[in-house]
């Protein structure tokens, strides 16, 4: 696609990386941000952004594209289309594919495939251990050369402390952040939902919040020991945020993310046995959910990431105990996050930090900013547009969401990657 010159006209440009929050026009030339000003002359393409928000494209640093291996659930084409629909111009995809992304060749496949069919930027995350089995390290250097931006065994947790230490040190050698899915497997014991009154009432197997926070605590201490850049994925319990807060106070290089379903729902919704509520870590009780929201407001949380985990009927239309964990979240992420802004927990600047600037920084990506010369990865959002969640209309193959039928406010109107409209009219 030949990049043309585009003016995004009359929107509220929110670009906290450059201290910008004003109504203005944004000019894109040759795939890059040219300038932000009022009264820019008309260009080859006009995008009317009056009453809209214009922000740097969002970066989702935790998605599962299921490609290679489970293309019936999602593939790089459909997954990136879903990302574009959600306002994400970059995604980082987890390595729990089939085969696992634990070698250069799988990384290369993903990178090349994304070039062929992907509509947004795809940055692979490599596995920490071979096969994510928690035993042997992967060739981080080789994989980094092929394009990984971080390592994680997400889906699984590296239980062995000695191995986790070495993985952190080795990853730090190549400047790769280590992302951990924090779950003490023995304590969690495969529990389907949060341990608490809902589990007692429903008879569903459960895992206590400590299964997560114990791991966070251990990992933070290892981060202190090794000096590695450590990122805790999808945190969900108050105790975990306490650990992160203390670590940040000590100046340790730790960061953390939360998902929209964890700051919106509680385990009460699991009482219906609807498998669309089954996710790992599980939805928690109201106290933990409220502590999570407070942690976002306070600044302890760095990133909102969807943990987009598409599944098909095969995995979800079964008994709750047998269903796979996961929610298809790329396309509801923004609207749910905007709720936090409407409820005055965060400012729009902070929203952009959570969705764009911070994930870009943690993963060392050139994104999160609309400074002149930056790639024109831009999202135009109508914050007032109401819509109802209809999974059948998702771009993602994954229809598994607990938000079916929910009325949300806030929708992506246009997503541009390198100046090309990948979502919206005229794509």
């Amino acid at each position: 696609m030949r990049p043309m010159s585009i003016v995004i006209r009359g929107g509220r440009i929110v670009d906290p990386a450059n201290g910008v929050d004003r109504q203005a026009d944004l000019l894109i030339e040759e795939g890059r941000v040219a300038k932000i000003d009022t009264g820019i002359a008309s260009a080859e393409k006009e995008i009317d952004a009056r009453n809209m928000l214009v922000m740097p494209g969002f970066v989702d640093m935790h998605v599962h594209l299921r490609d290679p291996g489970e293309e019936y659930k999602e593939d790089i084409a459909s997954g990136t289309r879903a990302a574009a629909a959600g306002g994400f111009t970059s995604v980082c995809c987890m390595p729990n594919t089939h085969p696992t992304n634990d070698t250069r060749s799988v990384t290369e496949y993903i990178v090349n495939r994304a070039v062929e069919v992907g509509v947004v930027r795809v940055f692979p995350i490599g596995a920490i251990t071979k096969g994510r089995a928690g035993k042997a390290l992967c060739e981080y250097a080789d994989m980094r050369d092929a394009g990984i931006v971080a390592v994680s065994d997400d889906g699984d947790c590296v239980m062995d402390s000695a191995l986790m230490r070495r993985a952190m040190e080795y990853a730090a050698t190549f400047g790769l952040p280590v992302i951990q899915h924090c779950e003490d497997k023995a304590l969690a014991n495969g529990g389907s939902i949060n341990e608490g009154l809902v589990a007692t009432r429903t008879g569903l197997t459960s895992q206590p919040g400590q299964a997560e926070s114990i791991m966070v605590s251990r990992d933070i201490q290892l981060a202190g020991l090794t000096g590695a850049a450590y990122h805790a994925a999808h945190l969900s319990v108050a105790a975990s945020f306490d650990e992160i807060r203390r670590a940040k106070e000590k100046g340790l290089p730790v960061s953390c993310e939360v998902t929209p379903h964890h700051f919106t729902l509680t385990d009460e919704v699991c009482a219906s046995y609807d498998t669309h509520t089954k996710v790992n870590p599980p939805l928690r009780g109201a106290e933990d959910r409220d502590a999570l929201r407070a942690a976002i407001a306070e600044g302890v949380v760095d990133v909102i990431a969807s943990d987009h985990a598409p599944h098909s009927l095969l995995e979800k239309e079964v008994e709750y105990g047998l269903a796979d964990f996961g929610i298809s979240g790329l396309e509801t992420s923004l609207a749910l996050s905007l709720e936090l802004w409407r409820e005055k927990l965060i400012t729009l600047d902070r929203l952009v930090e959570l969705l764009s600037i911070n994930p870009a920084k943690i993963m060392n990506l050139k994104a999160g900013s609309l400074a002149s010369g930056m790639p024109a990865d831009v999202v135009v959002v109508d914050p007032e547009k109401t819509w109802t969640v209809e999974p059948a209309r998702f771009a993602s193959k994954g229809r598994n969401t607990p938000f079916t039928g929910k009325e949300l406010k806030g929708k992506v109107c246009y997503t541009l990657v390198a100046g090309n409209v990948v979502f919206g009219e005229g794509e």
């Binding site: 429903t202 008879g203 079964v318 709750y320």
Partner: protein, 317 residues
């Protein structure tokens, strides 16, 4: 008579009037079981399918007898609910059974929520005969029926439930049913077997059986679920369990002199119940089995026939 539910999935969704309706009906059906011709034609020509995805002889036979005494045709479909023998999914199995046009599906499954999933996906009435550790509503109903028969009323009684509460669907269903009928419940067992949140539900948790049975009207003993324990062990040995939490003549003496002893069966003699108690004069275990058929007949009678629509006037001639 108030009962307009389409399914019987758990006790939580019943109010006390609905429970009383079932118990009152059960008294009538007990009369049928007591006479020579133990049959009424009420469900004649209807098919009831017993979909038991978890082995059971007692509950299934009880349902079968209840179905036959109502003149229904019974079909037994057993399979394993273990994930390793997955072939047909549960919903596929249900659709196959639906094609045989049954009036009622009686479902037992080892995963909590399975009957609820089935109920969401079929027009046939569903009776939960036990789903994982979640619920066993007909067991709780027959337990309440037994207590009511022997004590006159459930209201105001103190009931102790002793055993592996965490893994017992019988305990859970009784924990909900008994307070709805006005009884006070205490539970007892090693802490490893007590699930969180019971105090919030108004249930007292006791650490020793002596404390639990003191002054109670009913002692309900649960079977130690050996077959459900996977992973980390919850208690060190049956010897220690039976010495600390087993019911015997000495600790039973702490309850009221006319207290009754109940057990859903089958009894692990010598583990949770001393043999002389299991067969003693305070035990109502066999009555539980007898009322089980009557209660199940009542449930099947209420669920058979057309689904609840707006109330149609009933004219008597």
């Amino acid at each position: 008579m108030s009962f307009s539910q389409r399914h019987l999935l758990d006790i939580e969704s019943l109010n006390s009037e609905e429970i009383s309706t079932i118990l009152d009906l059960a008294d009538r059906f007990q009369e049928i079981s007591d006479r020579r011709i133990k049959k009424v034609p009420t469900l004649r020509g209807m098919t009831v399918v017993n979909l038991f995805m978890e082995p059971s002889t007692r509950t299934r036979s009880s349902f079968e007898i209840a179905e036959k005494r109502l003149s229904a045709d019974t079909v037994n479909f057993s399979a394993s609910s273990s994930a390793t023998t997955k072939g047909e999914t549960l919903l596929d199995t249900v659709r196959v059974l639906e094609a045989m046009d049954p009036s009622i599906l009686v479902v037992r499954h080892s995963y909590a929520g399975a009957p609820h999933m089935i109920a969401r996906n079929t027009d046939v009435a569903v009776v939960n005969a036990g789903d994982g550790v979640h619920a066993h509503p007909t067991q709780a109903l027959l337990d309440c029926a037994t207590i009511r028969k022997v004590k006159g009323s459930v209201e105001g009684l103190e009931v102790a439930i002793v055993g592996d509460i965490s893994h017992s669907r019988v305990a859970r269903s009784n924990l909900f049913a008994l307070p709805k009928l006005g009884a006070k419940v205490r539970v007892c067992g090693p802490r490893t077997m007590i699930p969180p949140g019971l105090e919030e539900l108004g249930i007292r948790v006791c650490n020793r059986i002596e404390e639990a049975v003191e002054g109670v009207d009913v002692v309900m003993m649960l079977r130690i679920q050996r077959e459900r324990q996977g992973g980390t062990p919850l208690f060190p040995s049956l010897r220690e369990y039976s010495r600390t939490f087993g019911l015997n003549r000495q600790n039973l003496a702490l309850s009221k002199p006319d207290a009754i002893v109940m057990h859903p069966g089958p009894v692990n003699r010598g583990v949770e119940l001393a043999p002389d108690i299991a067969d003693g004069d305070r035990s109502v275990i066999l009555q539980q089995v007898s009322y089980g058929v009557a209660v199940r007949m009542a449930v099947l009678y209420l669920l058979a026939g057309s689904p609840p629509v707006e109330e149609r006037p009933v004219f008597f001639s």
